[in-house]
Symmetry: C2
Subunit: 211 residues, 2 copies
DNA sequence: AGCTAAGCTGACCCTGCGGTCAACTTGTGC
DNA sequence: GCACAAGTTGACCGCAGGGTCAGCTTAGCT
């Protein structure tokens, strides 16, 4: 790869990271290129597609952040504190870094590495949830799909709130967590989703929101 | 107004009602006109804007549905059942009639009558919430702004789920309600939003989602 | 039947999106 | 310093959205 191409790739990565972080993964390809000071054609040359760029710029970062949150949760002696801390932390990430919210909610099914991160994260969430359920602190009927549903619902407004300088989205997380403690549980009105169902739902949901 | 204009207005109203109901308020003006079998120019002639059409087609219907739900809630002898039934019913409306979700979440700030419906609905929710809080069944720190935040978060995914034939969104409502009973309450990590804040948030939020 | 204004149409304006590619520029090895 | 491949560019494609308006059609009165 020639030196100028290298330079442009770096510029694009930097610009994309910046824009993804503040505006989410849906920023337009041309805008990223503009921000990087190169033609959008160059972006296609170097990365092939927006998904390619996303995979390069976001995947490792997202995996690290989400992995760290999961690690902390499982390292916590109290399973409930581990679980609730995990939920809070992931919500915090969603609120302060829109790109991470987009990863978790599968808004870009064509970004294969991001989808893998999402899968890993789902598996980690299952462990965290299982542990807290076995402990008897988390209600028995709560599933990882429920968590994903909550996170996906919550992300957009939390993002807006955080962008407006408000921490009010934390209240919603608080209400939710209070409803997830085992003693608070009352029978649920519907069967749990399978992982397939929730994944379809998220992907369909982003398509509907976009179109 | 000439007879043909009358006829076209009716056609447009019918087509808009249909499309709004199944696809939400964001359907394009041209698509409504196509569906009605008239030129989109005619739509502008007769209604001035999409907002004008929305106000004519949706406002009364939304007011009736939401008003009825509120009436039932306040008529219920048990304030908690009134409140929880209200939340469930509004969520049901959001899931099955995307247009109503869009009304409540202020996605179209320029539709003045819709915004009025939204304001009335907020006031009704305050009554329902107040009653349940005074009763001691609903946690004391829950506000109408919190409800609106929840409804707005919940609407998009509930819509997708319902469209896919799933009732799984009801689970999320169940978790939330379990967290709202007074005995489940633990201190919240943030101050409540003012009505102004939540309104700004919703409007900003839809703008962000659209752009 | 004829006239006129009310109403309708769709071509046209703009924007912005993703994406492609011929023509140009420039880095780099010789 | 030169040749050529590697890389860059921005005009261009198609699409879809909101919105406007000159010019045509037709309802409806006389």
């Amino acid at each position: 790869m020639r030196a100028d191409a290298q330079r442009n790739a770096t510029r694009l990565r930097v610009a994309a990271a910046e824009l993804f972080r503040v505006r989410g993964l849906q920023v337009s390809v041309k805008e990223i290129a503009r921000h990087a000071g190169v033609s959008h054609g160059t972006l296609y040359n170097l990365f092939g597609s927006r998904e390619g760029l996303m995979d390069e710029v976001i995947a490792d970062l997202a995996a690290a952040r989400l992995g760290e949150a999961a690690r902390k949760a499982l390292a916590c002696a109290d399973p409930w504190r581990g679980f609730s801390g995990y939920v809070s932390e992931v919500c915090e990430l969603q609120a302060t870094d829109p790109a991470l919210g987009d990863v978790l909610t599968r808004r870009f099914p064509d970004a294969s590495r991001l989808m893998a991160v999402c899968d890993n994260s789902f598996a980690a969430a299952e462990s965290i949830i299982d542990r807290a359920r076995r402990d008897g602190s988390l209600r028995a009927d709560f599933t990882a799909a429920d968590l994903l549903f909550f996170l996906a619902s919550h992300a957009p407004l939390a993002r807006s709130a955080a962008a407006a300088g408000s921490g009010s989205w934390r209240r919603a997380v608080g209400f939710m967590l209070d409803g997830l403690r085992a003693p608070a549980a009352t029978p649920l009105p519907a069967d749990p989703m399978t992982p397939q169902e929730i994944n379809h739902l998220l992907i369909e949901g982003s398509a509907a929101a976009a179109g």
